[in-house]
Amino acid sequence: MFANLRNLIRYRGLIQSLVARELKARYRGSVLGFFWSFVNPLLVLLVYSFVFTFVMPNKSEGLQPYALFMFCGILPWTWFSASLSEAAGSLISGGNLIKKVLFPAEVLPMVAVLANMVNFLLGLLILIPGLIYYHRLQMTPALLWFPVTVLVQLVFSAGLALVLASLTVHFRDIRDLLANILMLWFFATPIIYSWRQENVQRFKTLFDLNPFTHLAIAYQEILFFGPVGHWKWLLALGAGSVLLFLAGYWLFDRLRDSFAEAV
């Protein structure tokens, strides 16, 4: 297993070019092309701004502008959920490669996670000017937690992606199931509401069990609120994510030989 894991590092050239291909191919043929990577988050931001400013205004103290607050969580969530749903189908849609070419299959879910990470980072270019404009982003050393948070999310997503990708080959239902689970998960995570609300705090234990809660809070603290008080949880999640990744890789490795036949 660890020999194969080392291979993953050897394949970085392949992963790199596949991620580039993924990003290039995604918007090929559209008029705006690569700009969609910016336009998409911008449109989402505008929709949320409209809804939460005019339709159902949220005037909570300390969460203003509300759309910007939500955006701090929505952006990483989009990365997370898109990664998982793409990774789940990645082995099936890449079936030709697995069956006809000697190809390291684990590259495919990794590419799904990394391509979406690039989109996430591009989305930040929309978010950060907004944060600066409203004086929410503080230029303090606490910002150093940001890359740590991204890294934790990367490892966490990659671990789940490996599990989902390998199981989906055998149980195609996962793809449909996953869409619904992700929807539920989204609302169960303090993204479009604040975890500081009283009625959220009442269920604190339940929220603490949700790994993405800690990621969302970390992002919100780093980008929106300022002081980072959640770093212990973040590091714990980081350690858990490494274990998850290893477990996911182990499962993937065990099922590897069945892919070429079952895809």
Partner: protein, 431 residues
């Protein structure tokens, strides 16, 4: 030194029958995840297969569809693992199994070449160095920046082939890819293979083209039903394979003929109800049966019943008859038709001016052809006994089928004995 070694390799494919409706939910509810992942049925694709391919040689794998050829290739490529036994391969392998398998339709040929090359194990730098060579080989210079989805299937395959071959593998695996692409490109591929061999690289070729195996390969193996039937000299192996194919056809034709004769024998022997159109080629049997054809057999050179003949072989039609009453008015006739229903030849004892004198009891007539000068194809035979005026005793219409095989790909029906001669200005390479 062997480049490829298969030692007692078996590959069992699992078939998950009944898994179509099994869902994750039911698997979890019934705690049958592990059980469902167990094979419910297995299918042996390869059984105890061993062969060696020496370094620098070309090795052919032949066999019918479903005989395990492609599985063997996938094992050598490392795409699947053997269930038991060992596969050992020396050096870098490139598999031409499905060309352009990794192409992404939306991006340009140029980008696909890079990604495909990297997938096949090259570094970016190596692809860069070989890029021009690849594009020239594929003859796609003017289209290289167009998205691959706009390519014709031929262009697609050419580019796939070009990338795969420029990986410069030590071992090249080829699975029936020469069937695609036009004549010119096929020749180019064959030239590339020859160049490969000159440089001491190894080729493993899976193909249905026996001619290719004979001309290109040093050795061959014939797989049937996942087992090695024979291996060694390609001429001998293809010969053995062809013989087996003929035997298979033989059995098939014997069955067809037996069925046709049986079906007609059951029909009530009505008197002389011959069909309105004698030239319409439908199978059937009619006649008064005063003289009955009890058996018809096609005999080969050795006098044994056969259904498959080679062009130029002798063939004898043996007709056994039984006359229920002695008669002096009888004609034996033979008609030969090709698969399109065209009459190739017809004759009878009357047109050949033989005067019938007496036919009684059991008898046997033989119609011997010294040399069956027909091109390859399936032929059918009319056999009849009738009166001089045409009144049928027993008419067997197209009931007997046989196959003529030929190594030559000539066309038409009749192959006259022939030879070519040329004046000194015209020369051919000695084959």
């Amino acid at each position: 030194m062997n480049a490829i070694e298969l030692m007692n390799v078996s590959k069992v494919y699992r078939r998950y029958s009944g898994r179509h409706f099994a869902t994750l939910k039911s698997a979890l509810l019934q705690r049958s995840v592990l059980r469902d992942l167990q094979p419910s049925e297995t299918f042996p694709a390869l059984t105890d297969v061993s062969f060696r391919v020496p370094k620098g040689s070309a090795f052919g794998v032949i066999g019918r569809n479903g005989s395990g050829k492609s599985t063997a290739l996938k094992l050598v490529a490392g795409i699947t693992k053997p269930t038991s036994g060992a596969v050992r391969v020396e050096g870098r392998v490139s598999a031409l199994i499905e060309l352009g398998a990794g192409f992404h339709p939306e991006i340009s040929g140029r980008e696909n070449v890079f990604i495909n090359g990297i997938m096949l194990g090259l570094s970016k730098r190596e692809v860069q160095d070989r890029f021009d060579e690849i594009v020239d080989f594929a003859e796609l210079r003017e289209f290289i920046d167009a998205p691959v989805k706009t390519y014709s299937s031929g262009m697609y395959v050419r580019l796939g082939f070009a990338v795969a071959i420029h990986v410069k593998p030590d071992v090249l695996l080829v699975d029936e890819v020469l069937a695609v692409g036009d004549e010119g490109f096929t020749h180019k591929c064959l030239d590339k293979f020859s160049e490969f061999r000159r440089r001491g690289k190894t080729i493993l070729l899976v193909t249905h083209s026996l001619q290719l195996v004979e001309t290109l390969c040093d050795e061959a193996v014939w797989l049937d039903g996942g087992r090695v039937q024979t291996n060694g000299d390609p001429k001998r192996v293809t010969g053995a394979y062809l013989t087996a194919v003929e035997q298979g056809e033989q059995t098939l034709m014997a069955e067809t003929t037996a069925k046709a004769v049986e079906a007609e024998a059951k029909a009530v022997p009505a008197a002389a109800d011959e069909p309105a159109d004698m030239f319409k080629s439908t199978e059937g049997r009619w006649g008064s049966r005063e003289v009955e054809i009890s058996e018809v057999a096609l005999l080969d050179r050795k006098g044994e019943a056969s259904f498959v003949f080679h062009s130029g072989d002798p063939m004898t039609v043996r007709i056994k008859v039984r006359a229920h009453h002695p008669t002096d008015d009888f004609v034996f006739g033979i008609g030969l038709f090709n698969a399109d229903g065209v009459c190739c030849y017809g004759t009878n004892t009357y047109v050949e001016e033989m005067k019938p004198e007496r036919l009684s009891g059991d008898g046997e007539a033989r119609f011997a052809v010294d040399s069956l000068d027909l091109v390859e194809g399936t032929y059918k035979l009319d056999v009849a006994v009738h009166k001089k005026d045409g009144f049928p005793y027993d008419y067997h219409r197209l009931l007997y089928t046989f196959r003529v095989k030929s190594r030559q790909r000539d066309v038409g029906i009749y192959r006259p004995h022939h030879r070519w001669t040329f004046s000194s200005g015209i020369q051919f390479k000695a084959s």
